[in-house]
Amino acid sequence: MSLLEVQDLTVRFRTEEGPVLAVDEASFSVATREVVALVGESGCGKSVTALALTDLLPRNASVAGAIQLNGVRPSPRARGRDIAYIFQEPMTSLNPVLTVGRQIGEVLKRHQGASSRARIIELLELVGIPLPGRRIGEYPHQLSGGMRQRVMIAMAVACRPKLLVADEPTTALDVTVQAGILDVLRNLRDEIGTALLLITHDLGVVADIADRVVVMYAGRVIEQAGVHRLFAHPTHPYTRGLLDAVPTPGRPVLKEIPGRVPVMRATSDACTFADRCWRVTEQCRSVRPVLEPGPAGHPARCWHPLGGKE
């Protein structure tokens, strides 16, 4: 059985410009110790999906669908204990007026009843922070971006969560620092057996670390597959577009996907990608495609999947 099971997750926001459908019946799962990448452009509903897992969305959001961790719906107490988060902006995600040690200790105290200096230092060591005994008393502004992200990770894994949700953990960092952070995440999976739900739009990161990929577009899951299969046989035109937009040696021109992600107001009886797709037909605009195994054998939500008969 999988560790995390998300079934028909739907998230709506009430905004001043009207309702927004951010996630539209998304279903996916994460197995124990598995690294699953949630991929898509900005505005596809990836972060909203992640926050919805433990009810962290703002008050104007309404969430429907089933979320189960080991077969039960995660309680608010599961936050930070069973499901922990790392966010994109290490610069602003740590509290500027509290020491690093205090911020890590808080999690330990909250979920394990006690925190000790030794345990905090151990955690800082685990995420590869040099001189942890000194860093423990420092404030976030005294650390570099990469160090802050390591502190975020130390905080997140303090209680050995079953699932670590990393929302664009390397996007704000330099490339060399990125590699270090990915190493830390990989080690954590190996050392404490944490599963990882990695949210990113960087397919390089996906290729580096993920076991499986879930592609989202405009709130819907449109394709999922093992990482090698997805890179070798993208089935949905959107996935293909994402892969084409990655710089590759020997291919001088990058292809972009024309247009931008639409803001969905309500669920529609059409493929949400229809307006940007080069294979679009009348069927795409009038009937909602279902997520079903495509020509390459893995599920995709497309009436005209790639790799089939052209």
Binding site: G80, S93, P96, V97, T99, E106, R110, Q142
Partner: protein, 318 residues
């Protein structure tokens, strides 16, 4: 840290010296002759000259200034020609009254202001916020003298629960002191409370949407820990600034409040001194007021560095 403190202390000292010059020159620029006020309108030149000689008013201004500073540095603020008492002694009697009133008023204002401000931010767009906003609006728009009179009418006359006037020091009888100061301190503190409430509310609204608050919630902390430990702590720097800036208004507000509740404080002393052109006394009270301002500013700046470590170690502003 220590370099920052040293720099602020030196700056404060320079400000204090400038303040003495302004006070000294300002009073002498006012129309009116203290010797004539003292001797009466119909006095003869010989009497005036004698008075001027007694109080050193016949010397050149720079000499008068230096003598004044020299004495002030040793705690001698001169002798009031009106009362015949040393200025320092009169101030020494009046200052504790005002200080106790002000401290009590600030305590009330901070408790009420931060409390309602936090509630208003957390319970946004709900009745609790509207209630807090309405109280703040009332606190800002109702003048002290009217509120004070109504309070006396209600709580001292219609329902005699609290004394309408008089002062008892907290060091003599804490309970009686509390009873005597509760009404004036509340009257004096409501305006400040309203300002603190509004600042707290807006700072908290900012803080509650900050990334680090999302992190705190994602860590599974309780609402109280998130709101008080993370959001409020970051909002306090704004609140402290406002309190520091408003203390001046509190001192002038104390003048009115002291008159209303017949408290023998600094405000009453100031008013009496101004009306009688009591130079040494005015100099004394203004000097003490200016010193109070400068010290408050210094304390506020040093408090910043306690609350916000980025100021303490001179880190980059984010």
């Amino acid at each position: 840290m220590s370099r920052y403190v040293l720099r602020r202390v030196v700056e404060s000292a320079v400000t204090l010296i400038l303040a003495t010059i302004v006070v000294f020159a300002g009073i002498r620029a006012l129309p009116g002759d203290p010797a004539r006020t003292l001797a009466g309108e119909e006095s003869d030149p010989a009497t005036l000259a004698a008075i001027r000689a007694t109080y050193g008013l016949d010397e050149p201004l720079p000499v008068q200034y230096l003598r004044y500073v020299q004495k002030a540095a040793t705690g001698d603020l001169g002798r009031s020609p009106r009362t015949g008492l040393p200025v320092a002694e009169s101030i020494g009697h009046a200052l504790p009254v005002t200080l106790q009133l002000a401290v009590f008023a600030i305590a009330i204002a901070v408790l009420m202001g931060i409390g309602t401000g936090v509630v208003a931010a957390v319970r946004r767009r709900r009745p609790a916020e509207w209630g807090a906003n309405a109280i703040a609006l009332l606190g800002l728009s109702v003048p002290n003298f009217w509120f004070g009179q109504m309070a006396i009418l209600a709580l001292a006359i219609a329902y005699p629960l609290l004394p309408a006037s008089g002062f008892v020091s907290v060091f003599e009888d804490p309970v009686e002191s509390f009873r005597h100061l509760l009404m004036p301190a509340t009257v004096l503190g409501t305006g400040l409370a309203a300002i603190i409430m509004r600042q707290t509310r807006s700072a908290m609204l900012d803080a509650l949407t900050a990334d680090y608050v999302r992190t705190a919630r994602a860590k599974g902390l309780s609402s109280a820990q998130v709101v008080l430990g993370h959001a409020l702590r970051n909002s306090l720097i704004v609140v402290i600034t406002v309190v520091g800036l408003q203390l001046g208004a509190l001192i002038s507000g104390a003048v009115v409040t002291e008159q209303l509740f017949v408290l023998p404080g600094f405000g009453k002393l100031t008013i009496d001194a101004v009306f009688t052109r009591d130079y040494p006394m005015i100099q004394g009270v203004v000097l003490v007021t200016a010193t109070a301002y400068i010290v408050i500013n210094l304390v506020v700046d040093l408090l910043y560095s306690v609350i916000d470590p980025r100021i303490r170690v001179g880190g980059p502003a984010l």
